[in-house]
Symmetry: C2
Subunit: 702 residues, 2 copies
């Protein structure tokens, strides 16, 4: 942990007093009792001494240098203290006090003012509105947490102080320690990305747990996660509209769309926790080195019913039940009683004692296709609960593959859990929850190597239409790009669009049509704009005779309206798509997003079923631009419409490669025209040979 | 509880011995220690006395009458004992012994032999291969369970003995009792339906919890559930293919399709539990009278983050966050500090003590639109954990609306849980799990009145084509009904099918076509069968001239093949459907299913998106035939394709009423032709005015 703020050699605590109930007093107490070996200066003009330490009237009165000032006084007085900090040239400040951005405009202004002052002075700031931090590696507990669970190898960073307290309370109960616990508060200066950089590349930190309501800079967040290759556990609320409103009112910031967060999690190979229990169980498992190498899991049980429930869970969570090979079966039959059900799962029967579990585990571990074992125990009449727990612990010492114990019950199985917990053995008392968590870890491990950083600079070209697009991008308004400019953008990136010709000559038109049947003929945009209630479009023309007839008819229609006897007419090939595809995008962040200091997640690309079914089936997958080809292919294959494109029930295979190519071209287009705040390409007509963009709308904004 | 087997006045235990480890000895011990006040006869020729009771060499030697014989000796000896039971004219038998149907064909034959003997003698049987039963209402513990959690008002019936032991162990830990605990074993005689009848209509039983791997008679099971109006909790494994295989190997029976079970649960308003933890928590909640009247839930919290997570969960689980009215807001503002976040959820802030919780609960309960309160607590610095728990308990006494406490944490919140548990207050330590369970209970309550018994006899008519269909229904083979018979069945139930005419006369054909454009013309089935490589079908004919031309062409094609100069030709209207719909069915049970003694679930109807997207989007809902109109409408509205049919994005509304009508007609068709084992109506073309069955295939089997 490099960051100076978390390893200060001297700390002043503003607001500490002889009233032990005051937050600053609790922080001082926690710091002193935690064994901090730097200098500590309580600051309070009212007292000479606080908790056995000399108290100072203000920061300036401290003669020695101060590395960190912790402020826990009412918000009205914080600004004055900040001025003193700057004068005293302290290195960093932690503001515990609430009453800033989270309370509305006035608080926001005050927070901004303080943050700017500190930035100019080169002083780092944690908070405001936070619980403080605990750095167990340096024996610093600068927080008003009720308790400190002690040192460990997992770091925990939370935007919610209350969430910290809940996790700490769980940790104290379970005897799990943390290397660092950092409450971010309003993130006026230090935010999650800086801490990720500090913590994820710290050799003492095995994993990072995060609770985040909004992201300081999504693009950087993902890049850090991609580089880290260490487990990052994340709780990010906001899947519902109401929750998003609550986040805004609670943090004073706009929440990202949940789709964006889900895509970010996927891109960064982050492990999403569903809730605090989930997060805590995952922390425990990582702490127990219980990440399996893959998804092949063997189930051993002393009861059929629970074995079946586990089998359902394995399928639901996309793990794979190990298929016990014939050789292993024979081996098991030799050592287990004849009646045992040597199948998948392996049922040791209700009278199994610990020896049967031992034999089964030993034999199954010899199988090649086993990444972990899930050993279920129900407390039957002669079940040896403690003995089996001990055998699981012993067996675990002889293998690097995790053995998860799942003991079902309450009173009697407690004795087993005592042994398992004491030996730091991964254990559950709920089948589905256990399998659910194992699946998350297996997926993380599996995707670790697939996760590659894609640099958006590699996608940048000398954009041809920059100037024209810029013209539409000014002010606060969202504008739509005119059709011809939209087409120019598509053409610039060699995106397949329907062939077309604008001509006044019927001979030229016929020649073109003959090459491209079926075709449509339309009045040009200019003429169409003239008046709306004339027939200006003829679709699906398939023969030259029909074409000539309709061409003449349309020319007459236009002439009547415009007075022009020989108007130009648009002839367009019609694409007989077998499937309609959809590509949409929304930008999160401003139009500087792909520049060095741009903040936000960038463009969220949506791909999937097009046409009228787009919103009905919501068969859409999301990609945060840019993404590598392998991942794009995987995501495409996750859409259901890909079933049809990949050749459905004897129907021909459609142009999948062309779609993948189109997606990459669209990514390029967006990165080079980040002015596009929103995009709607629907439909893309998919034939056996082409993926043709028939309609594309681009909306731009700064 | 009416059933004689569960309230015997005298019990013989075959296999009890002086070896206290023997299962029969454990059963004897449990029975005696449980305070059973009937007569008890240990049966074992080796001893004079067992556990202080006189032992008898065999059943016959007992002079007094015996109500129940419990058998726990190796399976080879069971048959002999059964003969003695018959001779002694005992009323009932419980066979604990395993080694029957679950082990294969030999065991199955033995089980059948014993069950038949007993049936003829009029002796009831529980088991074999079971744990026994506990009837706490009559102080009978005739089981080899490790422990008995004591009396309560919830009954528990399980097909898995091990599952019993796990639930009992949980119950002992939590101090929850059960009225009855019955281990069904192989269900050779007594099965779940008989027990449902006994238990669900017993005034001492508030709810029934079930673990079932397969159903003795699905139709009756649903009917009982529909009548009961009491909560039925069900765990039914088998959602995965592998689990289904495991069930077969474990129970020796075929598992129902999971879709069938899900439809049954819906039809019977049964509460499906995901796993043992879930089941147990639901038992606790029902025991605590914590079923809410509806889905409107108010959230009170002392921390923003967890409040947001709860908001997400409420939306995900289809509950509704209570909207706090302006009046209530003003009231809350008067009693709570200014900074409190009086929104949805209500954030009492981190320094909330128990008084704030009290005021908030009191005020919120005055709102009309509140069915329950979810009170979240995180252990912050000055949080009064125990005081808040006590206030929640006190407030609950003043209202019939459930107040759910959700205390997050581990060590410190324990003191709060002690108070909550001691007062039987519904409480959770996980937001999502809590909301998930509350949602299940709210849904049960909401559907209670909607659940009506639909009698399949009301659907029966004098089926016209019974004889023809029967001709195809013989032997073990599945046969497809020929097209003309299929059409006859559709016509019998006045199902809309395309208009058609078979004629040799071009004049007649033109007249028909003119009324029904667009049309198709086809060679008749007889002629088409002749040879496959001639053009025998012309589609989408829209004008008379085109019709005449194609008619002549087709006539010539046919003549060339058949030599018949004036063949008959099929003219068929083509339906320009805006949406393709699908109705399929599978029968579970044999063709006697709708008769009095028919066993099985009957026909599972599948409705949803038709055409090529049927299997891609699996937009299918299931109905167990027959179902009432309201439920069919609800299920239809749950399909996604209903969005389009109900008028999508300005598109016209399609003939929804015609689809609902069609579904009912199909139900009728299936009930009257239960020979249909499988049906595939795809597509049903939906226009603005019609729902037309374009293709229907019926497969029949006995």
């Amino acid at each position: 942990m490099e960051n100076v703020i978390f390893s200060p050699k001297s700390i002043a605590i503003v607001g500490a007093s002889q009233d032990s109930e005051k937050i600053a007093s609790v922080i001082l107490k926690n710091l002193l009792e935690g064994g901090y070996n730097g200098k500590v200066f309580p600051i309070n003009p009212k007292y000479e001494e606080i908790q056995g330490r000399q108290s100072y009237p203000d920061i300036i009165s401290v003669k020695e240098s101060i590395d960190l000032v912790c402020i826990a006084i009412p918000y009205q007085f914080v600004d004055t203290i900040i001025d003193q900090c700057i004068k005293k040239k302290v290195k960093s400040v932690v503001i515990i006090t609430a009453g800033f951005k989270e309370t509305g405009d006035e608080g926001k202004a005050l927070e901004l003012k303080i943050a700017e002052k500190l930035q100019i002075a080169g002083i780092r700031l944690l908070g405001p509105n936070c619980l403080g931090f605990i750095n167990n590696k340096a024996k610093i507990n600068l927080s008003f947490a009720r308790q400190n669970p002690g040192d460990g190898n997992i770091a925990f960073v939370s935007q919610s102080g209350a969430f910290c307290t809940a996790i700490l309370d769980m940790a104290c109960e379970s005897g799990i320690g943390f290397s660092h616990i950092i409450s971010l508060g309003n993130k006026a200066d230090i935010h999650e990305n800086e801490l990720m950089l500090d913590l994820l590349f710290d050799k003492d930190v095995k994993a990072l747990a995060l609770y985040l309501e909004e992201f300081a800079d999504g693009k950087e967040f993902i890049a850090l996660a991609q580089k880290a290759k260490k487990p990052i556990l994340l709780i990010a609320p906001g899947s519902s509209e109401k929750a998003k409103q609550a986040i805004s009112s609670h943090t004073g910031s706009l929440a990202s769309s949940y789709d964006t967060i889900v895509a970010a999690v996927k891109k960064g190979n982050i492990i999403m926790a569903d809730n605090s229990e989930d997060l805590f169980e995952l922390i425990m498992l990582i702490n127990q080195d219980a990440i399996p190498d893959g998804r092949k899991i063997a189930i051993i049980t002393n009861a059929g019913g629970p074995g079946i429930l586990a089998t359902d869970a394995v399928e639901k969570e996309n793990l794979e039940l190990t298929e016990i090979g014939e050789k292993t079966k024979q081996k098991l039959l030799k050592v287990l009683p004849r009646e045992s059900n040597i199948k998948d799962p392996i049922d040791l029967l209700g009278d199994a004692k610990s020896d049967r579990y031992e034999l089964a585990m030993e034999t199954v571990l010899e199988e090649k296709d086993v990444d972990s074992i899930f050993a279920i125990l129900t407390p039957q009449l002669i079940t040896d609960i403690e003995g089996t727990a001990q055998k699981i612990v012993d067996m675990s010492k002889q293998t690097s593959k995790p053995i998860y114990a799942c003991f079902l019950g309450g009173k009697d199985v407690k004795a087993g859990f005592r042994i398992l917990k004491h030996n730091n053995q991964p254990s559950f008392n709920d089948i589905q929850e256990g399998i659910h968590l194992i699946a998350k870890l297996a997926k993380f491990e599996e995707n670790k190597e697939k996760t590659k950083v894609v640099n958006c600079d590699d996608y940048k070209v000398r954009a041809k239409h920059k100037k024209e697009v810029s013209e539409y991008t000014n002010g606060e308004e969202i504008k739509i790009l005119p059709e011809n400019l939209a087409i120019s953008l598509l053409q610039e990136f060699k995106i397949d669009i329907p062939q077309e010709l604008v001509t006044g000559s019927i001979e030229e038109a016929v020649d073109f049509a003959a090459m491209n049947f079926p075709v449509a003929i339309k009045a040009t945009a200019k003429d169409l704009a003239h008046k709306t209630d004339f027939k200006g479009i003829y679709l699906d023309i398939r023969t030259i005779s029909e074409f000539e007839e309709k061409f003449v008819e349309l020319r007459e229609n236009i002439s009547k309206i415009t007075g022009n006897p020989a108007p130009e007419i648009l002839v367009q090939e019609m694409i007989d798509g077998k499937v309609e595809f959809f590509i949409g995008a929304n930008r999160e962040g401003d139009s500087k997003i792909y520049e060095k200091d741009g903040k936000g997640f960038g463009h969220l690309l949506a791909i999937g079923q097009g046409g009228i079914y787009t919103e009905v089936y919501k068969d859409i997958k999301h990609i945060l631009v840019p993404e590598n080809d392998e991942k794009i292919k995987d995501l495409f294959d996750e859409t259901k419409v890909s079933m049809i494109i990949n050749g459905y029930r004897g129907k021909p295979v459609l142009a999948k490669e062309k779609i993948l190519d189109l997606i990459t071209k669209v990514e390029k287009l967006l990165i080079n025209y980040p002015e596009i705040i929103s995009m709607d390409i629907n439909p893309v007509m998919i034939t056996e040979k082409r993926a043709v963009v028939v309609d594309a709308k681009f909306y731009v904004k700064k």
